[in-house]
């Protein structure tokens, strides 16, 4: 029977007990635990009634916003109704509505909105547009290099 070493620890095993006290293992927190522990929960909802571009939220200085869900609804009649994007990047839309039925998205992987970036809701008709989002505001100094 051949003998091979299939597993070799890189260092000596540490003592589990130190002075009779159990050393808690260091687990890497889940994304959800990390967001909740390091961040402040942010919930915002609102509406706009007249066609135009509206700055709905600007991320504060020294913070980043991790968006975890958004929704959009309108009672506009036809055509492109409402589009939600970053002021600094109008091509990548966060969410858009092209009809009159509500749409909601929950992001398993949050959208990161960087410091001082503004989110804009643009509507192309005179009618009520309802919007909302949830997320976590986290200090930039708390965010590791992903």
């Amino acid at each position: 029977m051949a003998t091979h070493t299939v597993y070799k620890p890189t260092d000596k095993f540490k003592q589990v007990y130190t002075g009779g006290t159990l050393e808690p293992p260091k687990f890497m927190p889940s994304l959800n635990e990390w967001l909740r522990k390091k961040g402040a929960q942010k919930i915002q909802g609102g509406s706009v009634a007249v066609a135009g571009d509206y700055g709905i939220y600007t991320v504060p200085a020294n913070y980043s916003l991790f968006i975890t869900s958004v929704y959009l609804d309108t009672n506009l009649a036809a055509g492109v109704q409402a589009v939600w994007f970053l002021a600094s990047n109008t091509t990548e839309k966060i969410i858009a509505l092209n009809g009159v039925k509500a749409v909601a998205i929950s992001y398993q992987i949050p959208i990161l909105i960087e410091t001082k970036k503004q989110m804009v809701l643009s509507t192309l008709g005179n009618g009520l547009v309802q919007y909302g989002f949830t997320g976590f505001l986290i200090k930039n100094s708390e965010i590791p290099l992903f």
Binding site: I43, N75, V100, Q130
Partner: protein
Amino acid sequence: MATINNSDLMKEIVEDAKIQINTDKVPSQLAEKVVPVMEVNPKFFRKINVIARATSSSTIYTAPTNKDFFLTAYNMSGVSTATGEIRLTVTPKNQAAIIIGTIELGNTVAVDISSDNITQNFDRPILIERGSAITLASTGTQSLKQATIFGYTVEE
């Protein structure tokens, strides 16, 4: 050794362990030492324990004051013939209501929106401040409306 006198437990032992009663003896005594079994991390095993619904403008659910409540999902729908809206809000203590979700109904320009609905699952559940009321609010007049919420409470 203590003898087991619970026939249901004996039956369960036979069925769950698939003991061959023709050949093997069914254990009928407890070991002298009791070995506790603990969940290593009960936080991993959350389950919905709050489902609440309202069909009129009213409080759907009030978060407990002695434990945390996390909102995981909601569904909201309505039927209307006049402009109006249905809102799901939460009102923390001494603060204005925060809008969680809204649907618009009954604009005369677009008759097909006389009914609408929204369903939102929160992959990252929303922590509701203790003692806060989650409310179905509305403006205008709806012939039908409802909101259902789902969530769980955490003891610690």
